[in-house]
Amino acid sequence: MCKDMSPLEKAIQFHGHVCPGLLMGVRVAEFAMHRLGVSADVNEELLAVVETDSCGVDAIQAILGCTFGKGNLIFKDYGKNVYTIASRENGQAIRVAQKFRNSRTPQSQRYRELVCKGPLTEAEAAEKEELIALLFEQLMSTPFEELFDWKEIDFEFPPKAGIFNTIQCTRCGEGVIDIKATETARGPVCPGCLAENGGR
């Protein structure tokens, strides 16, 4: 695309659709950029520790440039909408946690029902369209502190992502990076083969 995309547009294009989860991630990403005074990452100046694998993480990747492939997206499978964004450049880090709510709004509840329903009738598709438009505006206009708790934290930066040698697995013959291989009696074995053979 020849024109610059907005952060929101980048997130939607990366994720493939608009949904409340993505929009929450957009809010986190935009807040982090503003609070830390940074722009999208190029080469691991920024680091994101995400405690969820939900839609919002796509916004973190698309907007902040903290990505799985670059090694500056660290995933902790805690099932919590909590994000820590850290800047190596200025040494600052913030921890952002989505506020817990005991109940959903009727619109949010109904949206969730339609998302989980499977094939929708035309009327249901129109209803879902209307709900996402409503939720979109709500989530993008609600003050940040009503949606999230956040604080500055001390953060220990891990080393930047390393580059390792590739060696050959002696069982399957496929390449595996040396630090992931396990030395066995017959030679280095990849994690996949190790798991298939009971850890031997």
Binding site: S6, E122, A126, E129, A133
Partner: protein
């Protein structure tokens, strides 16, 4: 349906509704209750299909998938007639006129049929902003307008074209998803207050326009953009229906 002016029951069990804005609808329904002092009439729809007579809309869409044309590129616009951004059948070139306006200078441009649809081919246009509109005259006049960006980063103000009824962006800029978009409705150059503006977008599942806005005392209204692709704004006043296509790059 708002500001209903006439309700006419028919012998076949349908009811004809017409609003002060000229919108018409025929529904299979019965009158349950009338509270005239409270200006309230309660209808109950019967299970049979809704038959709607809608005011047709005329609109333009640029033949580009990224919201603008580059200098040197052929500028092509497709003309549609239908409702809620869903084309109907049978748009012919009869009575259809088109005009392109750049820097306040207007010129007539030909409308031609191409592969079964009507289009305007402006050829290559100079870098800048171009307003194009189509007109179909008749008992009920139809107008459709679009603002095209040739090249990039044109943010200067737009002048109204002086159409009998016109939707004008309130300061041209790139309309973005997730942002508010403001416009003004003018009738013969003057702001129109309290007018309903219908808004829809490409690919909507709604049978009717998903958004109904109302102009304020300055003829302005605003909408938060939540859908990808182009939006269409439509307004009807004094036997004229005028649309404006908001072209978005995303």
């Amino acid at each position: 349906m708002e500001r209903v002016d006439r309700i006419i029951p028919a012998e076949d069990g349908s009811i004809f509704l017409e609003s002060v804005f000229g919108e018409r609808r025929v529904i299979k329904a019965r009158i349950v209750e009338m509270e005239l002092v409270r200006h309230r009439i309660l209808l109950e729809e019967t299970p049979e299909a809704v038959v709607t007579q809608r005011i047709q809309e005329l609109w333009l869409e640029p033949a580009t998938d990224h919201g603008h044309f580059h200098e040197g590129e052929e500028v092509i616009l497709r003309i549609f007639k239908g409702y809620n951004m869903k084309p109907g059948e049978g748009l012919s070139g009869d009575g259809l006129e088109a005009f392109a306006v750049a820097d306040g200078v207007s010129r007539a441009v030909p409308v031609q049929e191409h592969q079964g649809s009507m289009e305007i081919n402006l050829g290559q246009e100079a870098d800048g902003l171009l307003q194009v509109y189509v007109r179909e005259q008749g008992e009920h006049e139809l107008y459709g307008k679009v603002v095209l960006e040739i090249g990039h980063h044109h943010h200067h103000g737009l002048q109204a074209l002086g159409l009998p009824l016109e939707i004008v962006p309130a300061g041209y800029s790139h309309a973005r998803l997730g942002e508010n978009y403001e416009f003004q409705v003018l009738a013969a150059g003057e702001p129109v207050a309290g007018l309903e503006v219908k808004a829809t977008y490409a690919g909507t599942h709604h049978r009717e326009h998903p958004h109904r806005l109302r102009t304020d005392d300055n003829g302005r209204a605003r909408i938060f953009l939540t859908a990808r692709g182009n939006y269409l704004f439509s307004v009807t006043h004094n036997n004229v229906t005028s649309t404006f296509t908001l072209v978005k790059s995303f």
